[in-house]
């Protein structure tokens, strides 16, 4: 399954893991903040509507 990376295994694997980690972190943070802001906006909208 795993291809033979030879003597550069560390190099290649660390490059892949660092990059994927960064990408994942970017996506996750983006979505978390998006959700939070969306929730805040909805509560605020309903409150404002209720108050007139």
């Amino acid at each position: 399954m795993m291809p033979d990376l030879g003597k550069y295994a560390d190099t290649v694997l660390s490059a892949y893991s660092a990059s994927l980690l960064l990408l994942l972190a970017l996506v996750v943070l983006t979505i978390l903040r998006g959700r939070k802001v969306r929730r805040e906006m909805e509560t605020l909208e309903s409150r404002v509507k209720r108050n007139g």
Partner: protein, 243 residues
């Protein structure tokens, strides 16, 4: 029916809401496919050994790092000229994505450099100009964060983006003049002599397409978030007026 219609925040939210799932899925599929293809099913390079596999992350991220700045330049111009709020917010949304891409290109490059050039870092022009690009991103983001008033921030950051782009190009030339480099030439160019072998180029194209889609997805989503954040600010201000 002009594209400026999408500059209305509500319309923008409604439209992107519809295409978001497709964007997420297709970018994930393309990136996964490209990386798996590249990682498991390409041969080692005769000179670089298995390190050549890093190219599937390195080149797409470098590409997007530059293109993200370019997109910010365009949206900043649109804001300066036509004053569409969504445009300014899109620039704001793209900057963190761009800086992460820059960091990925720098990190993968540094890791790749260790076995190939025997050093993590060299002051090669291409590497150096990427570092300068990183600094531009940093300054741009810091300026957005430092200013309260969103319209002021949009105006200032877009002028910074315009002036900064000119100076970024200038630095590219300066750096080229200052040091001859170690780095690869443009291997995907039409100049066949330098070109990467076909075995690598196809999965590379797939990865590049995936990164482009991921960038679009992230920017759409983040722009939506920025729009909502602006609306929260405006709503709170309105409440204040009533109080």
């Amino acid at each position: 029916m002009s594209i400026w219609e999408y500059a209305n925040p509500k319309k923008f939210l409604a439209t992107t809401e519809k295409v978001m799932p497709a964007l997420w899925v297709s970018s994930a599929v393309l990136i996964a496919a490209g990386l798996i293809w590249g990682f498991f099913f390409t041969p080692d390079d005769y000179r670089q050994g298995s390190t050549v596999k890093i190219i599937f992350l390195h080149v797409p991220s470098a590409l997007m790092a530059i293109n993200a700045w370019f997109m910010m330049l365009v949206t900043s111009l649109v804001w300066v000229i036509r004053r569409h709020h969504v445009s300014a917010l899109a620039a704001r949304a793209a900057a963190p994505v761009g800086i992460v891409m820059t960091v990925i290109a720098l990190i993968t490059g540094a890791i790749w450099g260790q076995p190939m050039w025997g050093t993590w870092w060299a002051w090669d022009p291409r590497l150096t100009s990427f570092l300068v690009l990183f600094l531009f991103y940093l300054g741009y983001i810091a300026l957005w964060e430092a200013i309260d008033n969103p319209d002021t921030a949009a105006d200032l950051t877009s002028i910074l983006c315009l002036v900064g782009s000119v100076f970024a190009v200038l630095s590219r030339y300066a750096v080229n003049f200052w040091n001859q480099g170690l780095h690869q030439g443009a291997s995907l160019s039409l100049d066949k002599k330098e070109n990467v072998a076909d075995a690598f180029s196809n999965p590379l194209y797939v990865c590049m397409a995936g990164f482009v889609l991921l960038f679009i997805a992230l920017v759409f989503y983040r722009t939506g978030t920025e729009i909502r954040a602006r609306r929260i600010k405006a709503l709170m201000a309105r409440e204040r007026l009533e109080a």
